[in-house]
Amino acid sequence: AQTVTQSQPEMSVQEAETVTLSCTYDTSESDYYLFWYKQPPSRQMILVIRQEAYKQQNATENRFSVNFQKAAKSFSLKISDSQLGDAAMYFCAYRRYSGGYQKVTFGTGTKLQVIP
C-alpha cells in the first residue's frame, strides 16, 4: 500500500521569506501523480500544484515550486515570498497513474504559520 509521510506537523515563516515543506512517500509503482493541497481555515481543500512522476522537470505555479526527487521518493514544496494568505494546512498526496479510477492517499498535513 502507498503511504505518504509529512514529518513537520507545524512550520512558521516570516512574511516575504521562503519556506520548504517536506513530504516523502512509499510506492512500488513507477508512474504516479503527486500533489500539494492547501486547506485554509475555511476548510476548503485547494489544489496548489501537481507533479507527474514521468516528468523530470519540477512543477512550478507562480510562487509555489516543488523539488521532486524520484529515487529518494521525496516531494517537497517551496513557497517563495510568503504572504499572510499562505497560512493554512498543507497536505501532500499521491495517486497511482492509471487510465481509470485510483484512490488518492493523503499525508497528515503541515500547519504553516506566516508571521507578519
Binding site: 481543500m45 487510465g99 481509470g100 488518492v104 493523503f106
Partner: protein
C-alpha cells in the same frame, strides 16, 4: 460556476442519533468522493461514486456508515447510531472523470460533525 457545496456546515448530534450529510457536486462531474478528516489528521477515504454506483466502498469504517447518490447529482452520507469517534469534518469532492486531467478533485467546504 458553482463549486461543490455541502450541508449542513456544522452538525451537533447526540450519541446514538442518525445523521445525514449532503453533498452537491459540480454540475457535469461524474465522479464523487467522501472523505473523513479527524482533528489534526489527514483525509481518510470513505467511498467513491461513478454516476450513481459505488465501485469503491472500501473506506467505510463500519456498517453504520452508508452513502447513496442520485444519478450524477447529489449524494448523501448517512451515519446511523452515531458514536463520539464519528466526530470529524466530512469532506466531499467531485471530479469530471477519472482519466487524464479529468481526475482532478474539487472539494467542498465540509461538514463538521460533533457527537456529544
Amino acid at each position: 460556476g458553482a463549486g461543490v457545496s455541502q450541508s449542513p456546515s456544522n452538525k451537533v448530534t447526540e450519541k446514538g442519533k442518525d445523521v445525514e450529510l449532503r453533498c452537491d457536486p459540480i454540475s457535469g462531474h461524474t465522479a464523487l468522493y467522501w472523505y473523513r478528516q479527524r482533528l489534526g489528521q489527514g483525509l481518510e477515504f470513505l467511498i467513491y461514486f461513478q454516476g450513481n454506483s459505488a465501485p469503491d466502498k472500501s473506506g467505510l469504517p463500519s456498517d453504520r456508515f452508508s452513502a447513496e447518490r442520485t444519478g450524477e447529482s447529489v449524494s448523501t452520507l448517512t451515519i446511523q447510531r452515531t458514536q463520539q469517534e464519528d466526530s470529524a469534518v466530512y469532506l466531499c469532492a467531485s471530479s469530471l472523470g477519472t482519466s487524464g486531467r479529468a481526475y482532478e478533485q474539487y472539494f467542498g467546504p465540509g461538514t463538521r460533525l460533533t457527537v456529544t
